[in-house]
């Protein structure tokens, strides 16, 4: 099979760091999700902000999104997803060695969402912590979990991505209010029972791009600037460019590190930021959309929860089978990015 050539890299592009998994193979043993019941459709948004169903669909691919009711906590969404993932992987909560929650919207500065989940599950002892890498958080958390399990420091790790982004949305900004939404997804990582599990990774950040996706004063942040209600802001075209580039470069970098061709990838599960970013990246990578998982139409951009929501839907729809080579890739505020290739168990 012909090796697809990677698109040219701009001379100012950041070098990508890749590495192979080492130690004992680690796999995703089970997935769980939770989305708030309340649904906000594009038609609902038409009544709130200057926009239209057609405009939203054409530019983002989103039809509806789930929004948490007032009083709903991030940890409650996370706990629901966690319970489902534990049940799916037939792991008892007491077996957990570590709980990692990727979130940009914790319920407060502390305690961590991870500790609140642990309290809800009633399993003291495991190490619990939150991790912030914006929308890339889930991939970062997967990589941390995988490192602990592959090295033998842990046998069973619960990874969760959970967000209540709707509280940070500027409902007057038609560029961002139609995109962001609430939800949670969880994965249980354990030593692989068969197959290779996680194979190769690409993780990186570029703090020079700190002002591209922000919440609150871009330079000072929300706290130092004294803002009582910081709101999400995004430089749309710049982010679009960064996102498509980094999706493409990560896909080739991870495939190369794993020693496979792009054509060998059975399913590409990208962070669901915007269907146009996904389609533009898939086109340039040379992956047909039949091998790309898109479910942003139902959930919108739930930041750290999108990849888990997409994996879960892919599994439910029969698009994810044992032995499949899966490419996961994300990007987010920071700027941050992360991707991995795994053999589905």
């Amino acid at each position: 099979m012909a090796i697809k050539a990677a698109p040219r890299v701009r001379s100012d592009a950041v070098p990508l760091r890749t590495f192979r998994s080492a130690g004992r193979p680690v796999a995703i043993a089970g997935l769980g999700i939770h989305a708030p019941e309340k649904v906000l459709t594009n038609q609902d948004l038409e009544r709130m902000v200057e926009t239209s169903d057609q405009w939203i669909r054409e530019r983002t691919g989103i039809r509806r999104r789930h929004i948490a009711e007032p009083g709903t906590t991030t940890f409650s969404l996370a706990t629901e997803a966690a319970r489902e993932a534990l049940a799916a992987s037939t792991v008892r909560p007491e077996e957990l060695d570590m709980i990692l929650v990727a979130t940009s919207t914790p319920d407060g500065p502390f305690p961590s969402v991870a500790c609140r989940v642990q309290g809800e599950l009633g399993v003291p002892g495991a190490c619990a912590m939150d991790l912030l890498a914006a929308c890339t958080g889930f991939v970062y958390a997967l990589s941390a979990a995988e490192a602990y399990v592959s090295s033998g420091r842990a046998d069973t790790v619960l990874v969760i991505g959970a967000e209540v982004l709707s509280r940070l949305v500027d409902w007057k900004d038609r560029g961002t209010s139609v995109i962001f939404a609430d939800g949670a997804a969880a994965a249980v990582l354990r030593p692989a029972q068969r197959g290779a599990g996680f194979v190769a990774w690409c993780l990186g950040s570029d703090g020079r791009g700190y002002d591209q996706i922000t919440c609150g004063n871009p330079t000072l942040g929300g706290y130092a600037s004294g803002e009582s209600a910081p709101r999400i802001a995004m430089k749309g075209p710049d982010v679009f460019k960064f996102a498509t580039d980094i999706f493409i470069r990560q896909a080739f970098a991870v495939a190369e590190e794993a020693g496979i061709d792009i054509d060998d990838i059975d399913l590409f599960v990208p962070h669901q930021a915007n269907s146009r970013i996904i389609e533009a990246a898939a086109r340039r990578v040379g992956l047909p959309m039949e091998r790309v998982m898109v479910n942003i139409d139902e959930y919108g951009n739930t930041s750290t929860a999108t990849i888990g929501l997409a994996l879960h839907d892919a599994l439910r729809q029969g698009r994810l089978k044992s032995g499949d080579r899966v490419l996961i890739a994300g990007f987010g505020s920071g700027l941050t990015w992360g991707a991995c290739l795994l053999e589905w168990e």
């Binding site: 040219r8 701009r10 530019r59 075209p237 679009f240 460019k241 498509t244 146009r276 533009a280 340039r284």
Partner: protein, 84 residues
């Protein structure tokens, strides 16, 4: 080096902007005539950079209103390369 073929640029732009290649003419505006939004333009630029092995500086992008502007830029780059 072979000369640039305008037809190829027409086909590339048509594919990305979702229009017919014949609509992509020198005097046509990306935004006004071909209804390209900011994301379309970003995607088109990336595709052009890939295909022609060039880098389009941000400041020059802003000035490229018409298909002809982009074409002239590509021709100028090609001429530089031929001389080099």
């Amino acid at each position: 080096m072979a000369e640039l073929d305008f037809k190829e640029l027409q086909e590339l732009a048509a594919e990305i902007l979702g229009v017919e290649p014949e609509q992509v003419q020198m005097n046509v505006s990306f935004q006004r005539d071909l209804a390209a939004d900011s994301l379309d333009l970003v995607e088109l630029i990336a595709a052009v950079e890939d295909k022609y092995d060039v880098e389009l500086p941000e400041e020059q992008l802003e000035q490229m209103k018409n298909v002809g502007d982009l074409w002239q830029f590509l021709e100028a780059r090609e001429a530089e390369r031929t001389r080099a």
